[in-house]
Symmetry: C2
Subunit: 416 residues, 2 copies
């Protein structure tokens, strides 16, 4: 009960309307990430914490131009509307870069990738059903499945991605998850990308056991080194449901993402979405389409990739230079994150408190990405290399290095 | 299985991924309204069917100006962001017009009113729980609660709104709905507004039985005659959860709505929404706020109200003139709809087929708004008076009158 209810003179004592919540909502708690948020957003911090695109790289000028083109186009996108067909066609073209051959009818527009995950969870997951995720994983998937109060099955990961042997053993032992959630490229928070062999084996497992894969490809267009490996959906167009996002390659503020799925599922998703929020913001669909139509994406992506690559390299070099030998980390080929493992006995939450208080540096402790007991992840931390320019990255890593008692050195071998 | 899966050579026969859907999703069917949609959207129809704001009254110029102000403001709303505080303050001011005294902390921004309903359903409704709605009601509430596979309890309505005696009898007989969904002003599809006495009794019932009311006020700002009656939330700020929408008073395309709820529930809604789609489109929040900041809403609302009032009056007069005495209808004080009851034995779906084929006129048959057996609603139709200008309304009603075998007459008394 809050003091905002004070004006109501007849308010009875007792739980009031809070006693009317659905059972699962009564026990709901903010995610670990949201709980430490105030610590992470203290002003003046050098922050490796939040996975936000670099503000200075957001396509402001291109956005302004696209918006003006929409406004000048006459027919303003203010009415209720069916999904914008031109945008679907543009996404079909973009998917070719991920190796995916699909049709407009298989593309479903969503209010960001988070809605894609939420709708797929509702599509596939029974109340109290099973869902398989990696032990350390983007906390948004936990938020998406929570209303169904599922049993979370956790699968370990290594430097090539989700451990398919462990997954197979789980399936052989009788587990029947409604789906397996994976992030094949630029994993959040692990920073790893799945090997091609791993992708093929995972798709085979999905088909053999008839378990759908939900592929979160938020970072698949942000690859820094070799040519991109194909998305899982390119390997199996039936059992893989692909979730895409414009948040990291255009701007989070437009809230537009997409699903690529078999057409029969798209029509059910459409009914589900109608009950959730009717349409994707029409103005955002049109602005994005105008941006893509102007051919502005390739140039923007090239700029973002080059800058993020430089930031990643700066972070890796600074860690080599400043962290003790007992600390290891992943070397991301894509995405925005490095996963750092501290020596046994270290606790990343405790380190975060000291980092914020003593060195004004922030990161997200590994435990924030775990549904259950964090295990090894308790001594891990996620560092985002995308948000800050190189000098600030170097300064932040130097400060963390001081806390970790590092001595400047050369030649450590990255470990996962 | 669709031919879009043909490229996959390994596709096994059998249900494939469609066999992996959650139970409720496997039985999902488009709403009745969506099924007749193709009939309703045939080109060249005079259509009273869809509840869309009049395109020519959408605030295009004000939208352009607001968007340009946001663009010129410098800091583009492209990043992830917390809900826009200025917009919440503006909503607090707007709520005073509905008699509601609330604080910013009680205002929760949503991706349109539909998301408001969907989130409240997830907040309050257990899987398989009960929910109470009127027998004929906006089909979006059915879509919002469907994932919880609830038991739908239906309550009759009369010219003053939901039948509170029937609701009370239901509660006394042991029904315990997670919430009661009501549309106190400009009811969709019934076109009625609740009397003040009815509002007070309903709020008393909610408090006595500790049953939350979800108040859908999409049309509360579109009142045409006397001063508006207070929203239910003004009568009871604890048990009433208010859902507001900018779709009918600004534009559906921005997909912005709001909930007014006790502050303790707002924090849970925020966690729920985070799992659903993270944020409301930031660009839409800012544009709307700039529109409100320019003071453009009162003038826009006055224009819309005057025009919709004229259209309503034209429809009522044309029905008096053209429909047989055996046909009755509601006289809306607010909103966009008139509910027409045909003589016993008539079937509105059959009439729709003839209306579309023979007279190129469309409406929504009453059965589309019913969860169960439509009963009386099978001979009812919903006419939207907002979408077409007066001449087309008069022409459309004259055509329907021909089909109904009406003779031109004077002085029929409207019935509910």
């Amino acid at each position: 009960m809050t003091d905002t209810l004070a004006p109501n003179p007849g308010a009875a004592p007792g739980p009031g309307i809070e006693g009317s919540l659905a059972g699962w909502a009564r026990t709901i708690a903010p995610s670990a990430l949201r709980e430490i948020l105030p610590m992470l957003t203290r002003p003046g911090l050098l922050s490796f914490a939040l996975g936000m695109p670099a503000a200075e790289l957001l396509p402001g000028e291109a956005y302004v131009q696209a918006t003006r083109r929409v406004l000048d186009g006459g027919a303003l996108p203010l009415q209720y509307g069916v999904p914008h067909a031109a945008l679907k066609r543009q996404i079909v073209e973009m998917m070719a870069e991920r190796g995916v051959d699909c049709t407009e009818e298989q593309v479903f527009l969503t209010t960001g990738a988070q809605q894609g995950m939420s709708l797929l969870a509702r599509l596939l997951l029974e109340q109290g059903g099973q869902v398989a995720v990696e032990a350390a994983v983007y906390d948004g998937i936990h938020a998406a499945v929570r209303p169904q109060s599922p049993q979370i099955l956790t699968v370990p990961s290594d430097a090539e991605g989700i451990d398919v042997d462990a997954l197979e053993a789980m399936l052989e032992a009788g587990a029947r998850p409604a789906f397996v959630y994976v992030i094949p490229d630029g994993h959040n928070p692990l920073g790893v990308s799945m090997s091609l062999e791993r992708r093929v084996r995972l798709a085979e497992l999905a088909r053999r056991w008839e378990v759908p894969l939900v592929e979160d490809d938020a970072y698949g267009f942000l690859r820094y080194d070799d040519a991109a490996l194909p998305a899982l959906r390119a390997i199996d167009p039936e059992w893989v449901l692909y979730v895409g996002s414009f948040s990291k390659i255009f701007a989070p503020g437009v809230r537009v993402g997409w699903i690529v799925a078999p057409q029969a599922l798209v029509s059910i998703l459409s009914i589900l979405k109608h009950g959730s929020d009717l349409d994707v913001t029409t103005t955002a669909q049109r602005t994005l389409s105008a941006f893509l139509d102007a051919g502005a994406l390739p140039e923007h992506l090239a700029r973002v990739r080059a800058e993020y690559r430089a930031r990643r390299d700066a972070m890796l070099a600074a860690m080599e230079h400043c962290f003790p030998k007992s600390v290891s980390w992943t070397v991301p080929q894509a995405g925005m994150f490095v996963w750092v493992t501290l020596p046994p006995g270290k606790d990343a939450v405790e380190l975060l408190r000291r980092a914020v208080d003593e060195e004004q540096v922030a990161f997200v402790p590994g435990a924030a990405f775990c549904a259950h007991d964090p295990g090894q992840a308790a001594r891990c931390m996620r560092l985002c290399f995308a948000s800050m320019p190189v000098e600030r990255i170097e300064e932040g890593i130097a400060r963390l290095g001081r806390l970790l008692g590092g001595t400047i050195r050369i030649g450590a071998v990255p470990l996962v």
